[in-house]
Amino acid sequence: MKVDIRIDPGCAGPTVTITAPALTDEVKALAARLEGGAALIGWDGDTAVPLSEADILRCYGEEKGVKVQTIGAVYDLRERLYELEARLDRHTFVRISHSEIVNLRKVTALDLSLTGTIRIALTGGTVCYVSRRYVKKIKETLDL
């Protein structure tokens, strides 16, 4: 990868523009790393556990706090959901309801009921429900 640095005393802060022939997974991951900044830290009591986005199934609000679920465990997060929404890779993580963000790469099944409820099954058997208000967001994330 060729990296160019241009110094412009007139600009307000550093910006990064990625020029690529196509939007590949590599380009998405690079953009996510540049956007995301520091790694996500989950808390198990007083123990800090660094978390990789690839391990996260979902983030959800519960009892006035936010939790993150991986395949093996559930941790507390210090961030709010809206902060996570901005921080996590927006091509992979999408808000599906007022209190839940899921990793689209961990979706194993999608079911529609007669009442319009969309049920998502994640790796490991976790089930969550998509609010109709957020279907448009999922479609935008998937470029539909």
Binding site: A109, L110, L112, T117, I118, L142
Partner: protein, 281 residues
């Protein structure tokens, strides 16, 4: 009650009510003549009857009847206006609110038809309500097809296997031969074998034993395998509907009760099977 945004609901009700009055004055004028004075009741025929003759007789005053009639038109328009807003996102709340709105609309329609004399018998009123229910079902079906298309597109984009077919028609198809056998071929065969004076097979055995049991257990089997397949009771009803006029060729028996028996018991079976499947999963 139906809408979370009460202010918008009130605005829509108001606009709907005014539009209802504007639309129903000319339409109602034509209908008033058809049912209250013209074609149905064989009374004095005029091309346009602004005020319902029935209501005028009831209230004893044409201006008062007109005022009540306008209020009814406004009410009908208002309930339709409220229906243009989303009741809820999805799920049980949407179902409950839709049912509540249907009940309200049916009530308003029944009141209007009764007072204005647009329903000359309970059968006529039943037809109006069935048509109203059909409209609601069609609208629901249209929305559901849209949701289905969205979910299919998302599934495909995520690389997931395709889900069940719309309304599970493909999953119901293997049960079509049984539905044809139970609701068409079997009653026809029994009717041909029956004695002319005492039709025990097709008049007693079939409607009270074979059809309910066969309908229920076939529905149960389908429900357990594939979940909720609502097309199956419709299929059974359609087969029974085909049988009824055919049976007229060989006998004069009233076979209309077979329709609700075929649909009802197969539906009960499908629901029971789907519930058992859900518990098992």
């Amino acid at each position: 009650m139906f809408i979370d945004d009460k202010r918008r609901a009130l605005t829509r009700a108001l606009v709907g009510g005014l539009l209802g009055v504007a639309v129903l004055i000319p339409l109602g004028g034509l209908f008033n003549d058809i049912v209250s004075g013209g074609l149905i009741s064989m009374g004095i025929h005029t091309p346009f009857r602004l005020v319902s003759a029935d209501l005028t007789l009831r209230l004893g005053s044409a201006p008062l009847a007109f005022a009540v009639q306008l209020a009814l038109y406004f009410l009908l328009g208002a309930v339709v206006g409220v229906s243009t807003l989303p009741f809820a996102g999805d799920g049980p709340t949407l179902v409950l609110r839709s049912l509540a709105h249907f009940a309200l609309t049916a009530g308003a329609l029944t009141l209007t038809c009764t007072l204005l004399g647009w329903a000359w018998s309970w059968q006529a009123m039943a037809v109006y309500l069935v048509l109203l229910a059909a409209v609601y079902l069609l609208i629901w079906l249209g929305r559901w097809v849209g949701w289905y298309a969205e979910v299919s597109a998302i599934r495909e984009k995520l690389g997931l296997p395709p889900g069940p077919s719309p309304l599970k028609w493909r999953e119901t198809l293997p049960y079509l031969p049984f539905a044809l056998l139970l609701c068409l071929a079997l009653p026809m065969a029994l009717r041909l074998l029956d004695a002319a004076d005492v039709p025990v097979l097709s008049g007693l055995l079939y409607p009270y034993l074979l059809l309910p049991v066969g309908g229920f257990f076939s529905g149960l089997s389908l429900g357990k395998r594939q979940g909720l397949c609502l097309l199956y009771p419709v299929l059974c009803a359609l087969c029974a509907l085909v049988f009824i006029p055919l049976a007229r060729l060989v006998s004069n028996m009233a076979d209309w009760p077979l329709l609700p028996i075929a649909a009802g018991f197969s539906l009960a079976g499908v629901l029971a099977g789907a519930a058992l499947r859900r518990i098992r999963n």
